[in-house]
């Protein structure tokens, strides 16, 4: 399980101004902290970066590489900025991301710079409605990537996790697709923007959704995830250090309803969260209390 730290993001109240003002200190501090928190990649999200995005991405990559050797995930929808980041990257970078709408511009870059790519399953018609539509988009995208000379192991498919408070069927479809991927595209890798599952949920409760959904996706073979680097329990889960929680989540996924009174306080929270994420129990902000 590889972890990609999501924290260097232009939307952040400290990082945004630092990026705009080209102030390296806050970015470098965060990069060091993420690296020591134990993530494998650092995601550098500069947003759409329509104006001078190339210069910004080049600068951010150089700034981060000055303090850490961790490989980078370059996160922008601007292809020019993407290319500038790839040029500046010292080790094999991950393009975050290429969706069907941008294949013509961006697939050639993957080979040219010896990078890997996240294949985002956001179709030409928008968000896929179920697991099968995800599969259709994936097959097409992988075919085009292979044609452009990109081997499966450099394609990390992102089936798109969407908030549990918006549409539970999408939460299930993302899981279901994850179970299909190995068969559809042997050797392909996968990733997911994990924190999106808890978007709209009160901040202090988000980690329960993130961690539980990670365990559920890992069961279906998830290769990597873009995560909050500072959720230490989540990092432990990814490292296989919480086997009893993983075992509990699997049991509840299989339909077992353990006697909540026999579980510890934390275990109860995981059990309740699985039931919300499978759709067995309808989500509400108070899901842990009822």
């Amino acid at each position: 399980m590889l972890l990609i730290g999501e924290n260097i993001n232009i939307m952040s109240r400290t990082i945004g101004p630092a990026m705009k003002g080209r102030d390296p200190a806050p970015i470098q501090e965060l990069a060091r902290d993420e690296a020591s928190a134990g993530v494998d990649y650092l995601d550098l999200n500069i947003g759409p970066a329509r104006k001078a995005g190339d210069e910004l991405m080049g600068w951010v990559v150089t700034t981060v590489q000055a303090v850490t050797d961790k490989p980078l995930s370059l996160d922008t929808t601007n292809p020019v900025a993407m290319e500038a980041g790839l040029k500046a990257a010292k080790s094999k970078a991950l393009i975050n991301s290429i969706a069907p709408a941008r294949v013509d511009e961006e697939l050639p870059m993957v080979r040219e710079y010896g990078a890997a790519m996240i294949g985002l399953l956001w179709g030409l018609d928008g968000m896929p409605r179920d697991a099968n539509e995800r599969a259709l988009i994936a097959v097409d995208l992988i075919y085009k990537a292979n044609e452009a000379g990109i081997p499966n192991e450099d394609i990390w498919i992102d089936p798109i996790a969407s908030p549990v408070s918006v549409e539970i069927n999408q939460v299930r479809a993302c899981l279901e697709f994850m179970g299909m991927l190995e068969e559809i595209a042997p050797g392909c890798r996968s990733t997911v923007g994990l924190s999106n599952i808890s978007n709209g949920t009160p901040a202090d409760l988000r980690p329960y959704l993130n961690r539980t959904y990670l365990i559920m996706l890992m069961r279906y073979g998830l290769y990597s995830a873009i995560v909050d680097a500072f959720d230490t329990e989540l990092v432990k889960i990814a490292r296989g250090e919480m086997p009893h929680i993983v075992e509990l989540v699997h049991r509840v996924m299989d339909g077992d309803s353990p006697d909540l009174a026999s579980l510890g306080e934390e275990e109860v929270k995981y059990a309740k969260t699985v039931r919300v994420l499978t759709g067995e129990s309808l989500y509400s902000h108070s899901w842990l209390e009822i």
């Binding site: 408070s165 067995e280 129990s281 309808l282 989500y283 509400s284 902000h285 108070s286 209390e289 009822i290």
Partner: protein, 315 residues
């Protein structure tokens, strides 16, 4: 091999909630199947209709809607009585339009006085509907709850932003609350949990999912109500096993389509029939989605909907 029609497996039942008190009290809910799926379960209490009365003379009502109430629209008590005696209303919904801070902005004391007068004058259940302005509703509905403390009113809308204030006073005087959420099943469930935490008993709650009329997003309302019923009936979600109330007339009769005169848009047909049919059809759609109480306006639209309910439930 004989063919067997597949049946839905239900594991829950909607609670029965009694609105009002005395001989004319009305109990709604109790369904053990999806709306009108009488071949799969029962609807022991048929959906009911409340007729709306404004607490001040309505402005901008289409002529078709005003006609049945000619002569009483400046007197809420007379209006309510007319609904009951002339149109057989089983419930009245008093819309506190005059309290709207962006309109007449009538004070809580005066508004509560009108509610009291109407409540004293009728014996059918009375629903009191505010303006969904949290500050104003907190002020007005709390006073209404106190002044009408022995009346067992149905008070709403109670939203997350004012549920504590309105909830507490309704709780003190044992009124029924309309838990109102913005077309969102998760937020609807959350509000019911919050009201439960506040101490509101399950017998005093009815859900308002926020509805609209035909052509104005009714399919979203339908979908949310349908999912509420699925959660309550098939997934044992006890936080959603409540009857549903739909404040639909106000939404239908404010649309452009009910106001255009016949001669300006002949293709849309007779203006009077058009408004009536839009109201009746909107209400019918919401009944098919799981509504238990419809707040309606035009007597003819009400007659049409009652007829449909009778036909759909005929044995």
């Amino acid at each position: 091999m004989t063919f067997e029609i597949p049946k839905t497996k239900y594991s829950g039942r909607i609670r029965e909630i009694t609105l009002g008190k005395g001989d004319k009290a009305i109990t709604v809910g109790g369904e053990s199947c999806y709306p009108f799926y009488l071949y799969e379960g029962e609807m022991p209490r048929l959906p009911r209709i409340a007729m709306e009365v404004y607490d001040c003379p309505p402005e901008e009502w289409a002529p078709a809607a005003l006609e049945p109430f000619a002569g009483v629209t400046d007197d809420p008590v007379a209006w309510a009585k007319k609904c009951i005696s002339d149109y057989g209303a089983e419930m009245i919904c008093l819309q506190l339009i005059s309290t709207d801070p962006n309109g007449l902005d009538r004070g809580a004391e005066e508004a509560a006085q009108v509610v009291k007068q109407v409540a004293d004058a009728i014996d059918v259940p009375l629903i009191v509907w505010g303006t969904a302005n949290h500050d104003k509703d907190s002020e007005v509905l709390r006073l209404v709850a106190e002044k009408c403390q022995d009346k067992r009113l149905v008070i709403g809308p109670v939203e997350e932003g004012d549920h504590k204030k309105i909830g507490a006073s309704a709780l003190a005087y044992q009124h029924t609350l309309v838990a109102s959420s913005p077309i969102d099943i998760n937020l609807g469930k959350q509000l019911n949990i919050l009201l439960g935490n506040l101490g509101v008993s399950d017998e005093l709650l009815i859900i308002d999912p926020t509805v609209s009329g035909i052509g104005y997003g009714i399919e979203y309302c339908y979908s949310v109500m349908e999912r509420m019923r699925m959660a309550g009936l098939a997934q044992q979600d006890d936080k959603l096993q409540f009857p549903i109330i739909c404040n639909v007339a106000k939404e239908v009769w404010k649309t452009k389509e009910v106001h255009i005169p016949t001669e300006e848009a002949p293709a849309l047909g007779d203006a009077k029939k058009r408004g009536i049919l839009m109201e009746a059809m909107s209400a019918m759609i919401l009944l098919l989605a799981g509504g238990d109480v419809m707040i309606m306006r035009h007597p003819e639209a009400i007659r049409l909907v009652r007829e449909m309910i009778t036909e759909l439930t005929a044995s």
